[in-house]
């Protein structure tokens, strides 16, 4: 169980980073995990400067287990302020790790606190919890970049 509930994860769960829905934003999504009822509302705010798109803010609210809540907090730390390309790479690395059934340990150098979720991969029922905020963010980015401005 200590594999799953790493101290880093519990810290993020108790003191979530970036929580709360903020303005401005280009898109907002609502994702649920239908097997357990976890929910997240997530907004993304992108800014373009010199042809480079940056994740200026990602803000969220919701309810769920420690894994989904901590994952949202870690995601905020990992991608807020980064370029969109860097953030998408973070998503890819995170998704690859938690879906690897424990085969990919993750690289602390590039992933930071997100590497603490490596243990989640050994609990198939919890992978969806860890991915909930990340896939919500991906969906919001797609809507923001393809769907035009929110207002």
């Amino acid at each position: 169980m200590e594999d799953l509930y790493q101290e880093i994860i519990l810290d993020h769960y108790r003191n979530p980073q970036g929580r709360g829905l903020r303005e401005p934003f280009e898109s907002q999504v609502h994702h649920v995990n239908p097997t357990c009822g976890d929910e997240i509302d997530l907004r993304v705010h992108l800014e373009e400067e010199d042809g480079v798109t940056r994740v200026a803010d990602v803000s969220y609210a919701g309810q769920g287990c420690s894994i989904s809540q901590a994952s949202a907090s870690v995601m905020y730390d990992s991608i807020a302020g980064r370029t969109l390309d860097e953030a998408l790479e973070s998503l890819a690395r995170f998704q690859e790790m938690v879906q690897s059934k424990g085969q990919i340990a993750g690289d602390e150098e590039t992933m930071g606190d997100a590497v603490a979720f490596a243990g989640v991969a050994k609990y198939p029922a919890r992978v969806k919890c860890a991915l909930l905020p990340w896939l919500a963010w991906k969906d919001a980015v797609v809507q923001a970049t393809e769907g035009g401005p929110h207002e």
């Binding site: 169980m1 519990l10 357990c36 009822g37 309810q63 287990c65 420690s66 919890c129």
Partner: protein, 429 residues
């Protein structure tokens, strides 16, 4: 705790309960409302059928086909007898979900056929819905007894109504007179809630439905495995339940209905075995129960479920109910000792089954379940396919323990002990 059943003796018939989990710990299985474990007698019966008599039933001129047919129809009679029914009134389905869909589709199919003037069985008027007709369910239904009726409404223009819940998690029948009215055509409700453990009063709802001529469907998934049931004496038109929640195999469910009800229903799944005559233009259909059993049926599962009925009858369903009542009383008392734990559902023992949902203040049910799992304790977490019921009770999800014949007070005590550690893990105050 005093019980008429010796759970330790019962456990010897369930080898899976001897296996180790999560690094060597003893398995404490408290998730029987989701599915029960299977005794050796059930596994042996299935294996024996495959070893000696396996064949496609109701066809073929050979000895195996004859024996398989006998095993299948004999099992139907055995399972029907378990609930005081006649074999001809028992339809086999995949599970209770399919049984309830079979009832729901009788309405949408009859309505669609009537609109086109297509042939319907005699008496099918009961199943033809008109704009503004009403279907009544309750707020505590499993999705299996809610979503199919929502679909019927979407297809026919009928309106869905529901009996709300009291804060304690019982049906609020104060408005029953208004909810069951001359527009009500179907009342479909659960006999025992899988989320709250509440045992519902069948008689007053049946009386109200009868007074307006509405058809009554009962979801007895959580009652047939746990208490003596005599379907005919319930006064309802149809009863649905699953095999795998009563020691039987997965892949078999039951629908009992009165002969008049079955005879007047159009078919649901169509194809082989359910026909009377087939031409290129059209077909006529077999009498029930075959009308509702298209394709090669689940013979081995029927044999296994019949063996499960033998097993439960040998224990005695009165004793099963008394054993569960003793476990429930013990669990409800012990849960009050754990700080931050709140039971979601009735906290007294009156009309109360063994499915016990609860929340732990400050900790999400998924995390509660994970900590219990690390001690080998298997419980269910989430909305238990009763999402509206959770919302009505003001919780997003719960943790649920559901003991059965192979559990004893020690299992409950180990669960309580592990629950005491949960809040420390997450630093909840």
């Amino acid at each position: 705790m005093s019980s008429p059943l010796d759970a330790r003796r019962v456990r010897e018939d369930f080898p899976i309960l001897e296996r180790a989990v999560r690094g060597g710990g003893r398995l404490v299985y408290l998730d029987s409302a989701a599915t029960t474990q299977k005794p050796l007698a059930v596994l042996d019966a299935e294996r024996d059928y495959y070893l000696t008599s396996n064949a496609a039933v109701h066809r073929g001129a050979h000895q195996l086909a004859e024996e398989a047919t006998e095993a299948f129809e004999g099992s139907r009679a055995r399972i029907a007898a378990f609930v005081g029914a006649r074999a001809d009134d028992l339809v086999f389905t995949r599970n209770a979900t399919e049984s309830l869909n079979l009832m729901a589709y009788a309405f949408s199919n009859a309505t669609a056929k009537a609109a086109r003037g297509s042939a319907l069985p005699e008496g099918a008027d009961r199943f033809v819905l008109r704009e503004g007709d009403e279907i009544l369910v309750t707020e505590m239904e499993h999705h299996a007894n809610l979503v199919p009726w929502q679909e019927v409404c979407a297809k026919t223009g009928a309106v869905l109504r529901w009996i709300p819940l009291t804060p304690e998690g019982r049906l609020d029948l104060s408005d029953l007179d208004r909810l069951v009215n001359e527009r009500t055509r179907v009342v479909s409700f659960t006999q025992q809630s899988n989320l709250l453990g509440t045992v519902n009063p069948v008689a007053p709802i049946v009386d109200a439905a009868r007074a307006v001529g509405a058809l009554v469907v009962l979801d007895s998934c959580q009652s047939v495995p746990h208490m003596p049931i005599d379907v005919a004496s319930l006064g309802v038109d149809a009863v649905a339940w699953s095999g795998h929640k009563m020691l039987g195999p997965t892949g078999i469910g039951c629908l009992w209905a009165t002969p008049d009800t079955l005879a007047s229903m159009p078919p649901f799944i169509t194809g082989g075995s359910m026909i009377e005559n087939v031409t290129m233009e059209s077909s006529t259909y077999a009498e029930p129960p075959k009308r509702f059993e298209a394709g090669v049926p689940m013979v081995a599962q029927a044999v296994g479920l019949a063996a499960a009925c033998d097993y439960l009858d040998a224990l005695g369903m009165e004793k099963v109910a008394a054993h569960e009542a003793a476990l429930t009383a013990h669990a409800l008392t012990r849960l009050t000792e754990v700080p931050g734990v709140t039971v979601v559902g009735p906290t007294d023992l009156i009309d109360r089954g063994s499915a016990i949902s609860f929340t732990v203040d400050g900790v999400h049910p998924h995390d509660v379940g994970q900590v219990l799992d690390s001690s080998g304790i298997a419980v269910r977490v989430g909305h238990h396919c009763a999402w509206p019921g959770c919302r009505a009770m003001g919780v997003p999800a719960t943790t649920r323990m559901s003991p059965y014949i192979y559990n004893d007070a020690q299992d409950i005590d180990e669960c309580i002990e592990a629950l005491g550690r949960v809040r420390a893990v997450f630093g909840a105050r």
